[in-house]
Every structure is written in structure tokens, then in C-alpha cells.
């Protein structure tokens, strides 16, 4: 494996005494001085800044850009407007998942895709393999830095740095060129925490200036830095899937209950369509559920779930939820048995702990 890369914010993390780890080949903070639990609370109640520069960015341009995307995406982008964003899994023909990504429509011939860090190279190769017609693909990942500003105070913080009225920006919308403290940025109202917030992309050369400006503007709004550990717990509380856990080559978006992002009846053929339709008709022997522990025990990825003596699935993600003060998990379970079981058992180090099925998401923010 090649040496882990530093993002343009690496020195900021070191200065803030972040605990640096190697995450998919990137040196990133897993947590800062306050610790994971406080960082989760800060995100829910105030605002935090994450370095998410490891995320990959791919530009798709050309007359056939939309048609190409319609073929590789399982969601339907035909009604996506300029400056709007849509989430979609990307599937193999067998319905297994290549990645789950965001599609930003700049205009009908220009799209900006945001992909998972660990999947960037694999995705790009997959796009190239499937490309046709007048489509120009560019892997912009090495050029772009990205921060996620998340939490209820995010808008107040970012608004200090730009004349663009951010209050008018709706969820899952973006502006392709916003001047933030003199740096040209793509700004989207998106995130991976279940809170309100923004994701801000800029070219590497403006990154340091952007971070400093946001940090400075955040001081009167109790802005703190947050790391990958908090990010993972926040997304679990909000029941957002993470590739490698809830989605993979072996798991389809239907199993992960992402039905509203799977346009089975899209008028054009797309990768995975036939397999997913078949799966929808035939049913699945493992589907995603939310679990809540009925006794103390930390559910973690890979732990078996049982009803009586029968193993009915596995935990895909689990943790203590600092927000709910409960032990929670997402798990793939046999739906026939799960749906009729009041109580299940989660096996932790050969001992069974009681759990029950609970509605997803575990946490939903209150709308203003």
C-alpha cells in the first residue's frame, strides 16, 4: 500500500491536537481533544467542522452526460434541476453495489459527482468501463479539498463569510460558485450527520484560507472540530448507510431499504435493473433493520443476531448513541423471522444480549 496521504487541512488537525489515523489511505483525525461523545453532542446542538477532503469528486460533461448517468445510476435523474442534488446507488448488473454517490447537476451537460474515498479509483474505472458517446470524465479528487460544516449554527457561521443568501438554499441544493472569504467554492446544503449543514468544496490552494475563515467565524457560535469517529456515530444515529457496512458488492440497495432511491421503472435501462426487479418480486432473505439493545452491551459490526437457536443475520453497524443514550445497531436480518419476533438476541463474545427491532432512523432532527 502506498503511503497515506495528507489532506490540505492536515496541519490544522495537528495544531488542534487531533488524533490522527490512517483511514482508507488518508491521514485524518478520528477525534480531537474533547472526544467523540462531546463531538457528537456539539454537532447536534451547536456546530462542528469536519475535514472530508478524502471524498472523491468526478466531473461528467458532454452531450451524452445525462444518458450515461441514467445508465449507471439506479436513481432517476431525468427530473433533476440545475443546482439540485440527488443521491443514488451505483450498481453492478447483478444488483450488488459499486458505490453510493451524490450527483450535482450544474447543467444538463455538466454534472459533479461525489463518491466515497475508498471507492474513488474503483468508481472511476467503472465509469470509464461504461462510458459511451460524447462524455468527458475527469477525476477531480486530487484537486479538491472539502469541509463539512454541520449542526444548527452552521448557517449563521457560513453566512458571515459570504453575500450569497444561504437561508434561501434548500436541502440537497447547491451553488457552483460561491465566494467564501475570497475563496471560490461549491457550496451544498448536504451532510452525513442528520443535522442541517453545508458541504463546501474548494481547490486545494484555497483550502487553508477557507478553513481559517470558517474557524474564525465560528468562534462566536461555539464551533468545534469533529473527527471520523463522531461522523460515523452521527450517520448511524441518522441511519445513513455506509459503504462496506450497509452496502457492498454482496448487498443490494433494496436489501438496505433504499427503495426510494431505486427507480425500478425508469424508462431507460440501467445497470442492475433486471436483477433488482427480480429481487423485488422474489423477496430477500436478508433486509436492513434497526435494533436497540434491551440490556447493556455494545453491538458492533459482524456480531451475529439470533432468535432462539437460529442465527437470522448480522450487525452491519453498531455503537452507543450519545444522543439517545442507547445502544443501537443496524443489522441485516431474515425478514420473515424478524417481523414476527418481539425480542432478538445479539451475540457478543459468545454471550447473548437482548435486543428489539426499532424504527429507522434512530434519530431525526426536529424541523424548524
Amino acid at each position: 500500500m502506498s503511503e497515506a496521504k495528507k489532506t490540505p487541512f492536515y496541519e490544522k488537525h495537528v495544531a488542534l491536537e487531533g488524533k490522527i489515523v490512517d483511514y482508507s489511505g488518508w491521514l485524518l483525525p478520528v477525534q480531537y481533544q474533547k472526544g467523540l461523545v462531546e463531538e457528537v453532542h456539539d454537532t447536534r446542538n451547536r456546530a462542528v467542522i469536519f475535514d472530508v477532503s478524502h471524498m472523491g469528486e468526478v466531473s461528467v460533461e458532454g452531450k451524452d452526460a445525462e444518458e450515461f448517468l441514467q445508465k449507471i445510476l439506479v436513481n432517476d435523474i431525468s427530473r433533476l434541476k440545475d443546482n439540485a442534488i440527488i443521491y443514488s446507488p451505483v450498481c453492478y448488473p447483478d444488483g450488488g453495489v459499486v458505490d453510493d454517490i451524490l450527483i450535482y447537476r450544474i447543467n444538463e451537460e455538466n454534472f459533479f459527482l461525489v463518491v466515497n474515498a475508498a471507492n474513488t479509483d474503483k468508481d472511476y474505472a467503472w465509469f470509464e468501463e461504461n462510458v459511451f458517446g460524447d462524455v468527458k470524465l475527469q477525476n477531480l479528487s486530487p484537486e479538491y479539498a472539502q469541509i463539512a460544516l454541520q449542526g444548527p449554527n452552521s448557517e449563521a457561521i457560513l453566512q458571515q463569510l459570504t453575500d450569497t443568501p444561504l437561508g434561501e438554499m434548500k436541502n440537497y441544493h447547491f451553488l457552483p460558485s460561491v465566494n467564501i472569504a475570497g475563496v471560490d467554492c461549491i457550496v451544498s446544503r448536504t451532510g452525513y450527520t442528520g443535522e442541517d449543514g453545508f458541504e463546501v468544496y474548494c481547490k486545494n490552494q484555497g483550502a487553508s484560507k477557507l478553513w481559517d475563515a470558517v474557524w474564525e467565524a465560528g468562534q462566536k457560535h461555539e464551533l468545534s472540530p469533529a473527527g471520523l469517529g463522531a461522523r460515523d456515530v452521527l450517520r448511524l444515529e441518522a441511519a445513513m448507510p455506509l459503504y462496506g457496512h450497509e452496502l457492498s458488492k454482496e448487498l443490494t440497495p433494496l436489501q438496505a431499504r433504499l427503495d426510494r432511491f431505486v427507480a425500478l421503472d425508469k424508462t431507460v435501462n440501467f445497470n442492475g435493473q433486471a436483477a433488482l426487479k427480480k429481487q423485488r418480486e422474489e423477496g430477500m432473505n436478508r433486509m436492513l433493520y434497526g435494533l436497540e439493545m434491551l440490556e447493556r452491551g455494545v453491538p458492533r459490526e459482524g456480531y451475529p443476531v439470533k432468535v432462539g437457536d437460529q442465527e437470522i443475520g448480522w450487525v452491519s453497524s453498531g455503537s452507543k448513541s450519545p444522543t439517545l443514550d442507547k445502544f443501537i445497531a443496524m443489522a441485516f436480518l431474515d425478514p420473515v423471522i424478524a417481523d414476527q419476533s418481539q425480542e432478538l438476541e445479539l451475540v457478543i463474545r459468545n454471550r447473548s444480549y437482548r435486543a428489539r427491532i426499532t424504527k429507522l432512523p434512530f434519530y431525526r432532527r426536529k424541523k424548524k
Binding site: 472526544g35 461523545v37 455494545v298 458492533r300 452507543k320 450519545p322 445502544f327
Partner: protein
């Protein structure tokens, strides 16, 4: 030193501590270890009567992000466990050498304590480990 390293106990390379009280050793996790783990949310205790072996896993301590084994500092038989930790595992964070003790063992061979680190040795060990 940013970690609390107290007198009257001896330390292992895995960051457990043990305090000899007659023939009984009280065992816990050092301040350094609890700091590295972060907020502790779950403790799996051994049953009373369990034979523990120096260097082998004897309890499990979990924070939000990690699962850590607590290795027995010395050989012995568990005589008592700190049941307060079942409902308040965070006592290990707030008072690692006091209310956050984990279990007590009837010690088999007191000479095993000679192999554990005293304060100066453990301070040096922690500094080196922290630099890595």
C-alpha cells in the same frame, strides 16, 4: 506528565494497574489507558472464582470506538468484581485508581509483582509509547 500515575500500585505494559492488599490484588486500568480509550460505555467482568493468568485477557472494556481486553497483571483467582461498573462504566474514566477498580484476585505468587513497573518505570514507558 499529562496522565495521573500514582504511587502504591504497579503497572503492566498493557496499562493495567495492580495494588497488593495482603494476599489480594486490586486490578484496574491506568489513567493513560482510560484516556486513550475515551468514554467507557461497557465493561464485561469475570465471574467470581475465575482463574486469571498474567498477560491473558480477564475482562473487556469498551468505549464508543474500541473494544479493549483487560489483561490480568498477575495469576490468581477472582474474589470480587466491581459491580458498580455495570451501570456506571464511566467510573473508570472519572476515577481509574479508585471507584473505577475492576476486580480483585487472590494472588498465587507475590513475586510476580516484582516484574511489574513502578512509577518511574511506567512514566518512562508511557512517554515512549505516547511518542510513537
Amino acid at each position: 506528565m499529562k496522565y495521573n500515575i500514582i504511587d502504591g500500585v504497579k503497572y503492566t505494559k498493557k496499562h493495567e494497574w495492580a495494588r497488593l492488599e495482603g494476599s489480594i490484588a486490586v486490578v484496574g486500568l491506568s489513567d493513560y489507558a482510560q484516556d486513550k480509550l475515551g468514554e467507557i460505555v461497557f465493561v464485561e467482568l469475570p465471574d467470581v472464582g475465575t482463574e486469571v493468568e498474567a498477560g491473558k485477557g480477564s475482562a473487556v472494556i469498551e468505549s464508543v470506538k474500541a473494544v479493549a481486553d483487560l489483561y490480568a497483571p498477575v495469576d490468581g483467582t477472582v474474589t470480587e468484581v466491581n459491580e458498580d461498573l455495570l451501570d456506571q462504566p464511566e467510573l473508570i474514566n472519572s476515577d481509574p485508581y479508585g471507584e473505577g477498580w475492576v476486580y480483585k484476585v487472590e494472588v498465587k505468587d507475590e513475586s510476580q509483582f516484582d516484574e511489574l513497573m513502578d512509577v518511574p518505570a511506567y512514566e518512562k514507558f508511557v512517554v515512549e509509547e505516547d511518542e510513537e
